[in-house]
């Protein structure tokens, strides 16, 4: 697995590189010191995952992330030294798969890389086709259609939708969803869930401000609409 490390600080790149190599999980590091090189490297080296520092000189990380998302679903873990909630939410909204605040532990970083890779390359897929109104979800093929037109979902978006849609009419708690879709270490990271539910609603609901498919269950979590 090729991992592209984008950070302007050579020492941080070295640390991440060493962490990947020492982990002995077959993670091969590629490095880029700025956004332009990173975007080029995505095309040329086709990495499997990007670790992106948000505080880059020139094109900042958010811009790079935006441009990256325009062309692919490549899993991205963003790194930031600011640790601000708004950065975290903005990063997730722009399509980051995970978020780590500096200083982070090399062990945790490797664990996160593996979780994200596992999440975005699911080994076991579900089967069956689900219909709700004009929406059709093909769980086996991991494809979603609205009015028979395909709606593009990122792997994590699809995982969340599949998790909810597999239990129609049942309220799933924040914790359950976070543990099943993201992993046990994310059980209290409600930001992820909020941002992703928001993104799914934007893509799938007729009126995202009045959601019918992905319903909020106050104080508990979310529920997928029961059969018509």
């Amino acid at each position: 697995m090729k991992i592209l490390i984008v950070d302007d600080e050579p020492d941080v790149r070295t640390l991440v590189r060493d962490s990947l190599q020492y982990s002995q999980h077959g993670l091969e590091p590629i490095e880029a010191a700025d956004g332009e090189t990173a975007l080029r490297s995505v095309t040329i080296d086709s990495p499997d995952l990007v670790i992106l520092d948000l505080g880059l000189p020139g094109h900042d990380g958010f811009t790079v992330l935006e441009q990256l998302r325009e062309r692919s679903d490549l899993p991205v873990i963003v790194l930031t030294a600011r640790g601000l909630e708004e950065d975290k939410i903005r990063g997730l909204k722009l399509g980051a798969d995970d978020y780590m605040t500096k200083p982070f532990s090399p062990g945790e970083l490797v664990a996160r890389i593996e979780t994200v890779l596992r999440r975005t390359h699911p080994a076991v897929s579900r089967r069956g086709v689900l219909r709700r109104g004009t929406l059709r979800i093909d769980l086996g093929a991991r494809r979603t259609f609205r009015d028979e037109i395909e709606t593009h979902l990122t792997p994590t978006e699809f995982n969340l939708l599949a998790e909810l849609a597999s239990h129609p009419g049942e309220a799933l708690s924040h914790e359950t969803l976070l543990m099943r879709v993201w992993g046990p270490e994310y059980r209290s990271e409600t930001h992820y869930l909020k941002v992703y539910v928001g993104r799914l609603r934007d893509k799938l609901e007729a009126d995202p401000s009045d959601p019918r498919l992905l319903q909020t269950v106050r104080g508990v979590g979310y529920r997928f609409a029961e059969a018509d």
Partner: protein, 418 residues
């Protein structure tokens, strides 16, 4: 006085110059129609006012200093000319020019304060009485003593009123100046505070990347990734790791405090069951408590409460209280966590059975960077409780320190339900 600066005196002289020109105009236009000592005197009166106006117009804008002395000279001329005016028209049986004298205490007061008002009232009174005496003898137009007393009283009352007005104005001015000074000081303090917060934020930010590298390197070393460590090397690396963590915590707290002071912490409120959250926090701290042979006694209301709160911030506050209880209480003591709701509030009390906190320190423990007597043996920056209190206050609640019955400290968080 109102003309307390050179520019003020110059401004006043400009205003008075207009009055002098009006006076000169009146002398030329109306003087000949009044019975007077003769046309020559009327022209002399008008010219005197006119010439004085010209001189003041030339001298004042050019003068560099001694404005007050110049102003006194001009004012003396004013009084002399007005007195001369009394004299010029003293032949008039319906002599009324002395009325102009009542204006002089006003002009003097504006320029030189109460002193100017009273001096001009005295000069005008003397001039009036002298001219009245003169016209009684020269033209056989005597005034009775009570008639003489009236204008003199009028000059004095006018001076008295003027000094009263000046006193009021001085009070108002002092108040305004105090207000302006206070506003300026507040703005300056705010600017310093802002600068401090920005500095803290920038500093904490710049700390994070180097900290990542140091922490990561130590962790890789301790994981013996680059090679096996000797016992001595391991001890050193462990000590480095412990201290990097302290630095990390301190940096985090500084940044959090800076954000709170900046008002940059926005709550992401949702419905939260605080008792469930407290249980989670206690469970997360079981390992730490066990290390010190401490145990938790939980007293939770069976009714579930619903709080509109920021889950992660609430958890942070609870973790701070529970973490402190573990840190500061002696080994082998219980920690009581009590949660209850009453009249629209949710209350969480974390009580330890340690040495407690003295009455004098009870408020100070919430101050930034304050390290209480009991904290001396425990590492920390003294920001945890300050942050916790700010976060509780953001939720509209309070965080207080009380005694634990039987000895120890109890921290009580109270937040409104919904």
């Amino acid at each position: 006085m109102l003309a307390d600066t050179s520019s003020g005196l110059r401004r006043f002289e400009r205003t008075f110059n207009r009055s002098r020109l009006i006076g000169a105009g009146l002398a030329f236009a109306l003087g000949p129609f009044y019975p007077n000592l003769g046309l020559g005197h009327v022209i002399a009166l008008g010219l005197a006012l006119f010439v004085e106006a010209i001189v003041v117009q030339i001298v004042f804008p050019r003068a560099r200093e001694h404005y007050e002395r110049l102003s006194w000279i001009a004012f003396s001329f004013d009084m002399a000319i007005v007195s001369y005016g009394f004299l010029v028209f003293s032949v008039d049986p319906y002599w009324t020019t002395y009325l102009v004298g009542a204006l002089m205490p006003i002009a003097g007061g504006f320029r030189f304060g109460p002193r100017g008002a009273y001096v001009s009232a005295a000069v005008m009174s003397i001039a009036y009485v002298a001219v009245a005496q003169f016209r009684a003898e020269a033209f056989g137009l005597p005034e009775s003593p009570q008639r003489l007393a009236f204008p003199v009283s009028m000059f004095c009352v006018s001076a008295f009123l003027m000094s009263g007005i000046l006193r009021e104005l001085a009070t108002l001015r002092a108040q305004r100046e105090a207000f302006v000074r206070q506003t300026t000081e507040t703005a300056a303090l705010r600017a310093v505070d802002q600068l401090k917060s920005e500095f803290l934020a920038a500093m904490s930010h710049d700390f994070r990347s180097p900290l990542t590298v140091v922490r990561g390197a130590v962790e890789l070393l301790l994981g013996e990734k680059p090679g096996k460590l000797t016992i001595g090397q391991r001890d050193l690396a462990q000590s480095a790791e412990r201290n990097v963590r302290r630095l990390e915590e301190f940096t985090e707290e500084l940044l959090e405090m800076a954000r709170l002071e900046h008002g940059a912490v926005a709550l992401d409120r949702e419905e939260v069951d605080p008792t469930e959250l407290a249980r989670e926090v206690v469970s997360d701290h079981q390992v730490l408590a066990k290390e010190k042979h401490q145990w938790f006694n939980l007293h939770f209301d069976s009714d579930s409460a619903r709080l509109l709160a920021d889950r992660s911030r609430m958890r942070q506050v609870m973790a701070n209280l529970v973490g402190n209880a573990i840190k500061y209480a002696p080994t082998s003591t219980p920690i009581d966590v009590r949660a209850e709701r009453d009249d629209g509030h949710y209350r969480l009390a974390v009580a330890d059975h340690g040495p407690g906190i003295s009455r004098e320190e009870r408020e100070r423990v919430f101050d930034r960077f304050y390290r209480g007597a009991r904290a001396s043996s425990v590492p920390g920056a003294g920001l945890g409780l300050a942050i916790a209190r700010s976060l509780v206050e953001l939720h509209g609640g309070t965080l207080e320190c009380q005694d634990t019955p039987g000895g120890g400290a109890t921290f009580v968080m109270t937040v409104p339900l919904e």
